[in-house]
Symmetry: C2
Subunit: 314 residues, 2 copies
């Protein structure tokens, strides 16, 4: 089988991979479309020390599995817990210490012809959602994690820091939920895609926000988000990246800021938002490459003005 | 009047200070006993850029004020808001942008013969609480702020990082409230004072804590607290200090940690805990100096094995 393989910070397309065998309770999924995420790019630079097939945003069709799943078009949650520990019992797989994570930790990912996942991780995709859209379910769910983690007041002012992949989805998800959202970013063309949807752009680093969501994946974004908050405001960290941030604890303590780490989110509302059109994503796709050209897809996704690159089964 | 004056990182006892004049609604308080806090030491090294009389932990007697306060023994909340802004209306003086803070910002402090504070900041001290104990109300209130900010489950495991001034009070306050508390610290003699009260000592850096309270005021403490937490645990920052911490956002994001800044707290429960003896503080006082020797008191408070130094009106 073909797949985009990463190891030791080196990425290459291989055609000698064994098709994965689904264990009992798992499904084999023929990947249709997969999206390149910032975390994927981080992994190609050594983040998380992952070796295997890259990719975790996907839609595909079940090629092998139990009768109720066989042939269905699906997306899949990426965390696979041990199902035996206290954390799996209390809050699911996302924080299991022994978890495997699709394309990130101990489990081959979606930039390949096939992947395997437990059937309990799968969600059927309604016909009204295209493959292009469905490949956004995972990152959109991550954006929706913010409102799952905290009660944001109806009249809250929310600042999204960053106009890239995560920032676009966070801003669109909160805007769709009726919140006042301002976005601060550095890329005119990316900001324009938000402006077209009626999302407001904060040109100067504003202040007094109730919630600031850091989506840039760089230390300057952390500083911007912190500076934007009112006292007792909430700074949500969404980006996983390896660069250290210099933080002055007194800034957090004196203003009693809450910093909230936020990772994977709920698939059902993400699918619903795509199905009913409340969150638009089609304009985010800059380019689509066949799996055979997936090395180029990774390069393209690293370019500064690009938001989303997708990889399709040829 | 005499007072310990700090300016530009230089501390000296002055005897040429004007006795402060209380504006309408304020009281003049003759300071009886005041405690030296870690923040005071930070200020002597330039933190907060404060120039004026140092000190904010005190007990004293009202020497001038309205009839219901005159002659009463009092402690006082240290934040003085503008009383006109939205923040003062919403949540009191603590986060007013124009606030003055006793001995910290734009308001002369407690290491002097007299201080002034708004009468609404004052709390009468019951006779059963000694001056030595009453001077702990302000830092104990800050320790109790943690339980005011968040619901800690009854069966939570709490790690207090640091065995100094703040760590002692945080551990004692939570222990008194029935929580399981472990303390990690580097000073055998300080830890011994906790062990004597039945508070357990974590010799090795443990893990899996629900809540970790960083009370060391140094970057290593931040790392210890973070490493001690379970996924989705809460890291409380209590120390105000200027040194930057190197934080890896991925550590916060992947484990969905909450970091909560925590500053000033409620005086009433602190007074109550001292009055009913549920929080013991007498053993924390290493030395007491008259105001005339307050320069020496600051030096003594900087020594590594010292927890609390108090300054008394001669």
């Amino acid at each position: 089988m073909k797949g985009l393989w990463v190891a030791d910070g080196c990425v290459r397309l291989r055609d000698d991979l064994a098709r994965p065998e689904p264990p009992p309770g798992w499904a084999l999924v023929a990947v249709a479309t997969a999206g390149v995420c910032g975390t994927d790019l981080q992994i190609t630079r050594g983040y998380a020390g992952f070796a295997g097939v890259l990719g975790h945003e996907f839609v595909g069709r079940v090629a092998q599995g139990s009768p109720q799943w066989l042939g269905r078009r699906v997306v899949g949650e990426i965390n696979v817990g041990c199902n035996r520990c206290r954390r799996c019992a209390a809050s699911g797989a996302n924080h299991c210490e022994r978890r495997r994570v699709l394309g990130i930790r101990d489990l081959d990912g979606a930039f390949a012809e096939f992947l395997v996942l437990p059937e309990q991780n799968l969600h059927p995709v309604p016909d009204s959602v295209t493959d292009t859209q469905a490949a956004f379910v995972e990152p959109l769910a991550a954006a929706l994690r913010v409102t799952e983690q905290m009660e944001i007041a109806d009249d809250a002012r929310v600042l999204v820091v960053g106009d890239g992949r995560l920032g676009q989805l966070a801003a669109r998800a909160l805007h769709a939920n009726g919140y006042h959202v301002d976005v601060v970013g550095r890329h005119a063309a990316k900001l324009e895609r938000l402006r077209r949807l009626g999302i407001s752009i904060e040109k100067q680093d504003g202040g007094g926000y109730d919630v600031a969501i850091e989506c840039t994946g760089n230390p300057a974004g952390f500083a911007t988000a912190l500076a934007g908050l009112r006292p007792q405001g909430t700074l949500v960290l969404k980006s996983t990246y390896d660069a250290p941030v210099r933080m002055h604890p007194a800034d957090i303590v004196v203003n009693e800021i809450q910093v909230v780490g936020s990772r994977c989110g709920p698939f059902a509302p993400a699918l619903q938002a795509l199905a009913n059109g409340s969150v638009v994503v089609d304009d985010l796709v800059d380019d689509t490459y066949p799996l055979d050209e997936s090395e180029r897809a990774i390069q393209r996704a690293s370019e500064p003005d690009v938001i989303k690159v997708q990889i399709e089964r040829a």
